[in-house]
């Protein structure tokens, strides 16, 4: 058994040495095993290759050209697109880096909120109260709306001069000229706020499912040991949620760095270009303005940043995983 496992991990060919005199049956079964694997992977691999690998490879190739698909001439420019962006010589550089900063700002402010608030909501949803299903539905409801609906709705509500929100603020005698969508930092506050309102339901439902998986006996036992509410949360609930945290965190980060629709529709990237995000700028450069080469180079640089962030997230959770495993082992 062990031999097979090792052989598989290192990819050792079946008939390498006489020492592995186990038997031919194990070798053939091993080979067949692998073929089955490929067979099961095939449907996904085909899609992955056609819709991810090939376009990505083509993207690299495009990024080395001054590429505009509508022009017959697509001159090869080598790494010029990249160096222009990295040194700031290209007229696209300043907006691009501003957009990258925009994505970073949005992610840094929205992800913590989208990790913590839904947890609170999930805890509330998990209480045995009247109309529990109604509340669950209410919190989840915005998530079923499309980004266009959400953004257009809030654009009207948040308008500085003719919006409902400022109208109500003035009724309450508060500052009624808050430039929700046209000045910083308000534009970011609006974008983050609307996104949290919109997508909070999704994370809440995931948390809720995880909460319901935590055995009630654990809470009972903790109570018997005299643990108060906070201690139960800290020592029973949180560890119980650990398995879904990696999922929720990665999904939330991915959604946040991909933010586009909200700022495209609510602020039009404004004021000026302050709330443009990386995806916004890439789409604008490549699709609206036909500078596919430059846009591909931007995408590649963006990808490098995303890879770094992903590695960071996985490293973080792996470490947690091992410490928790160790803790469990010690216990």
């Amino acid at each position: 058994m062990t031999q097979i496992a090792i052989g598989r991990r290192h990819g050792v060919p079946a008939r390498s040495t006489a020492a592995v005199g186990s038997s031919t049956t194990s070798a053939t079964s091993r080979r067949r095993d692998r073929r089955d694997g490929w067979l099961f992977l095939a449907p996904y691999l085909v899609l992955f290759a056609v819709f991810v690998l090939l376009p990505a490879g083509f993207g690299v190739w495009i990024s080395l050209h001054d590429y505009d698909y509508s022009l017959p001439d697509k001159p090869f420019v080598g790494l010029d697109n990249y160096t222009g962006l990295l040194t700031g010589d290209s007229p696209f550089a300043s907006t691009f880096w501003q957009a990258m900063r925009g994505t970073a700002i949005f992610t840094v402010f929205s992800v913590p909120l989208l990790l913590v608030l839904p947890l609170g909501v999930a805890l509330l949803m998990n209480l045995k109260v009247k109309c529990r299903n109604f509340f669950r539905a209410t919190y989840f409801a915005p998530y079923v709306l499309g980004v266009a609906v959400v953004a257009v709705l809030w654009r009207y509500l948040l308008d500085t001069n003719i919006g409902l929100v400022n109208q109500y603020l003035s009724r309450l005698g508060l500052d009624s000229a808050i430039p929700w969508l046209t000045q910083l930092p308000w534009a970011w506050i609006s974008l983050v706020g609307v996104t949290v309102w919109w997508t909070l339901g999704f994370n809440s439902v995931i948390y809720l499912a995880a909460l319901q998986d935590i055995s009630p006996e654990l809470y009972e036992a903790a109570k018997m040991d005299g643990a108060n509410v906070w201690q139960r949360f800290r020592n029973v609930t949180l560890p119980g949620l650990r398995p879904v945290l990696l999922f929720v965190t990665s999904v939330t980060i991915i959604a946040s760095v991909n933010m586009f629709g909200q700022s495209y529709l609510m602020t039009q990237g404004g004021p000026g270009t302050a709330t443009r995000t990386a995806i916004y700028q890439i789409a604008d450069t490549g699709l609206t303005n036909f500078n596919s080469g430059m846009a591909s180079a931007m995408s590649m640089i963006f990808t490098v940043f995303l890879a770094v962030v992903s590695v960071g997230v996985f490293a973080l959770f792996r470490e947690r995983g091992t410490t928790s495993a160790r803790a469990e082992g010690e216990a």
């Binding site: 698909y69 509508s70 017959p72 001069n161 046209t182 004021p271």
Partner: protein, 444 residues
Amino acid sequence: MGRVIDVPTTRREFLTLSALAVGAGLGLAACASATPLASSGPPLSGEYDGPPVQIEYWNGFTGGDGPAMRQLVADFNKSQDLITVRMNVVQWAQYYQRVVAAVHAGKGPDVGAMHVEQLATQASRQTIAPLDDILDEIGVSAEQYPHEVWERGVFGDHRYGVPLDVHSLASYANTDLVAKGGGNPTPATRQDLEASISALMSAGVKTPFWVPNRWPAHLIFLSLLWQFGGEPYSEDGSKATFDSDAGIAALSWLTGLIQSGVSPKNVAPDSQYTAFKGGQGAYTWDGIWQINDLKSTAPDLPWTMSALPTIGDTPAVWANSHQLVLFKNRSPNDDRILASKAFLRFLIDNSEAWSGSGLIPARSEARKTPEFLKSPQAVLEPAVPTMRFLPPVPALGEVQAQTLEIALADAILGRQSPEAALRGNASKATQLMQANLKKFEVKS
């Protein structure tokens, strides 16, 4: 550009080929040119008499101008039996990207309408075909149109568009509000407008003129820039010049309105118009394409319309023109081209019906018809000679969206001084224009 002789591909041949080829893409590639071709087909004499044919007509008339175009197409389809025109309406914002993709994929339409300032771009992108050879057949000539509108249809050595209409900014006034303060609802000069505004403000009308930070801010700015004697871009497309003294004067006048409380701060795109419809703001400058919208969505609003007042030294107003175009095709078909020409001729002959769109028919004759003269926009007819258009430079609209529009937003929101905002963005615009010159050089 001469007539391209291309082996005509009949529908049956095409179907056979498609059936033989496994994929639809392969089928197309097998019988079509890799790049879109221009073809003016055989001459159209009299009525179209070929086999029944369906042609595709794409435009972006999604607003108050939509019903008028639907009517024209229906009238054409009813007027004869052989040609069926199928209209596809795409929002202008997406239209220019989609149509390029469609034509290059071999699935483009036959006939279209486009803004005149897009013609250079679309011609450079191999989307539209020169019309020089067919002008006689469809019965148009220079003397039927105002000079500038006609001339703007030319890019390089060829004509790419036949003017359908002109549409400009106009000054709208809420007559109730203006009467309350004893102002002039149709101000013609800077003194007129400013005196009216201060009269209104002292009569208790708050913020009578709203200045938006995005759309239609750049149209307002361009009008003012021309009034102050400036030019936004050099005619050859090599340089952005909107940061001239005229530009700074124009933008400073706008930001001054905000500083003095005539306009509220932080006016979002289109909010100035929504507010006007809601009875806030005594004056607003917006496109004449809003006429039908005002009629249908704000029927109780008492309003009037006039030409833009002259704030600078000479009367001038930003304008645009919808022009009719023929698309290039990877596999040109003579019957469809003939049918397209017949349809173009019909649209041009019936220009006066286009008055129903709220826009101004480009054909001078059509502007003398009762249909036009009884339309609200007829008051702008004397302003037609003052209408100004962007120069025909490929991808200029894209440059403008990334530079001038940002500069205006920054200055109007108070994030930068008019001068700093215009300077910075003009130099960026020049950089982009230089890059575009190089990029499009080979073609034009």
